[in-house]
Each structure stands twice: as structure tokens, then as C-alpha cells.
Symmetry: C2
Subunit: 146 residues, 2 copies
């Protein structure tokens, strides 16, 4: 199975986007997130914990506690999330896994992939969570989950 980002990373992106739909500063519990987004409770807990540790979210315990964005939604890019969870290894390794592939000894798709990779990088850097949330703020978004 080809994938780009880990499942953890996908969950993180979904959760952070959901938080961006909420009024600024409002806390959202794991329970609500896990229910609306259909993500395993404790697994999501660990992911959010991680993002909170890295400053992308803030957390609070107790009743009325939960998670909220640690920065304005428009200051959190997709790349921030991806880098926090998956790292940025996809920016450096040969996409086909050839160990000897490098700019001085390139495989046949080295340059081509370099351009695509850069484009994907720009896509991640130039899109923020506010935009993600806006795109998702549709009837279908809420309707699909239950």
C-alpha cells in the first residue's frame, strides 16, 4: 500500500482542522473529537498530547477541559502538523528507495521527483488550518459523521 502520510498524521490533521472550526479559545474534549471524527479515543489522546507538547495545541484537564489551537488557525500550516508527527524525511530520501541515489548520482526520476516534492512542500506550507476548516465547513462534513 502506497501512502504519503501516516494514519497518526491524518488523524492529527483532521482533529486540528475540527478544532479550527470552533470559536477561538473554546476547549474541545477528546470525547467529542473521537465521536465526530470517528478516531480511536486513546490513540487520538496520544496524538493530541504530542501536538500539545510541541506547542501546536493547548490542553486543559478537568471538567470544561479539552484541547484548543495553540496558535491562530491561519498561523498553523499543514506542514507544521506533518512535520510534528511524521517528520520531513520525505523531503530528502530517494522516492524509489535507491540507496545510492543523490544529486551527484541521480536515479532516472531524481530531478522529476524533486520538482513534484517541492510542489507538495509548497502545498503544505502555503495552506493553513483556517483554510482547511473553511473548505470543510459544509453540510456534508457534519452529515457524514455521527
Amino acid at each position: 500500500m502506497s501512502i504519503i502520510f501516516s494514519r497518526q498524521c491524518e488523524y492529527a490533521l483532521q482533529a486540528v482542522t475540527y478544532l479550527a472550526l470552533k470559536p477561538v479559545g473554546e476547549k474541545t474534549s477528546i470525547k467529542e473529537l473521537t465521536k465526530k471524527l470517528d478516531i480511536p479515543y486513546h490513540f487520538l489522546g496520544k496524538i493530541l498530547q504530542d501536538l500539545a507538547y510541541k506547542g501546536l495545541l493547548i490542553s486543559q484537564k478537568g471538567p470544561t477541559g479539552g484541547f484548543a489551537l495553540g496558535l491562530p488557525a491561519r498561523d498553523i500550516t499543514l506542514f507544521h502538523i506533518v512535520e510534528a508527527i511524521d517528520g520531513s524525511g520525505f523531503m530528502t530520501n530517494c522516492v524509489l528507495g535507491f540507496p545510492e541515489c543523490s544529486s551527484s548520482n541521480p536515479c532516472a526520476v531524481h530531478d522529476s521527483w524533486g520538482r513534484h516534492r517541492e510542489g507538495i512542500y509548497q502545498m503544505l506550507v502555503n495552506r493553513n488550518i483556517a483554510e482547511m476548516a473553511r473548505a470543510m465547513k459544509k453540510p456534508e462534513y457534519v452529515a457524514i459523521r455521527r
Copy 2:
């Protein structure tokens, strides 16, 4: 960790490229491949078996046996290998994993990713194993392994 293709797929691409460096029809044993490419013996065996079953390679048992390309090198594209091992799910799923993302209800990077994905697809379809082999046929290629 972000990845594009599975390790199996990377091994497959490397092995098939190596076979393309050989004279047409010459069989190469797993032993040689595993030694030159530093890929686990039995793991590679299963992968090649799989590719042979799917017609991309031919195999022969016994002394002087081994594996060879099942088609002319220039008729085997990267996509043939990727599709055989990893499938083509990356062509259809939302790159960020949003379950409700579709062309009628796109996430904020849906169209952007669509263009990148198409570019990557073209890269895989337009490059064949002969080209891969040519790019790798350099002193460094042999020197790095042992």
C-alpha cells in the same frame, strides 16, 4: 514517518532495475541480487515470486536458474511495478486522509494534490526500467554495494 512506496516496492524496483542491466534473457539468482543489492534473501524471494506470478518477471528453477525480465525493459514502466506491489490507492484517496473529501466536497488541497498526483503518475508511467538501469549504470552503482 511519511513514505510514498512500501519497502517491498522499493526492493522490487531495485531488483528489476538490476535485472535490466543484464543481457536479455540471462537469468539472475536471488543469491546474486540479495548480495549486490543488500536485500534480505527470502524476503526478496517472495517479492520476485509475486512479480513472476504477475508476468513482469520469468523464473526458472535449478542450476542456471533464476529470474529475468518478463518483458523488454523499455516496456516495463515504474508504474507497472508500483501497481503490482503497492496497488494504485494513492491515485484515489485523499492525501490528507479526510474521509469526506471528494471532488464534490473537496478539502482545501484536493485540487492542488490532484495536479501533483497526476504529475507523479505521469512520472511513473513515462519512465521505464531501461531508463532506470541506464541512470544507474555508473561506477558508483557497483562501488557502493559489496
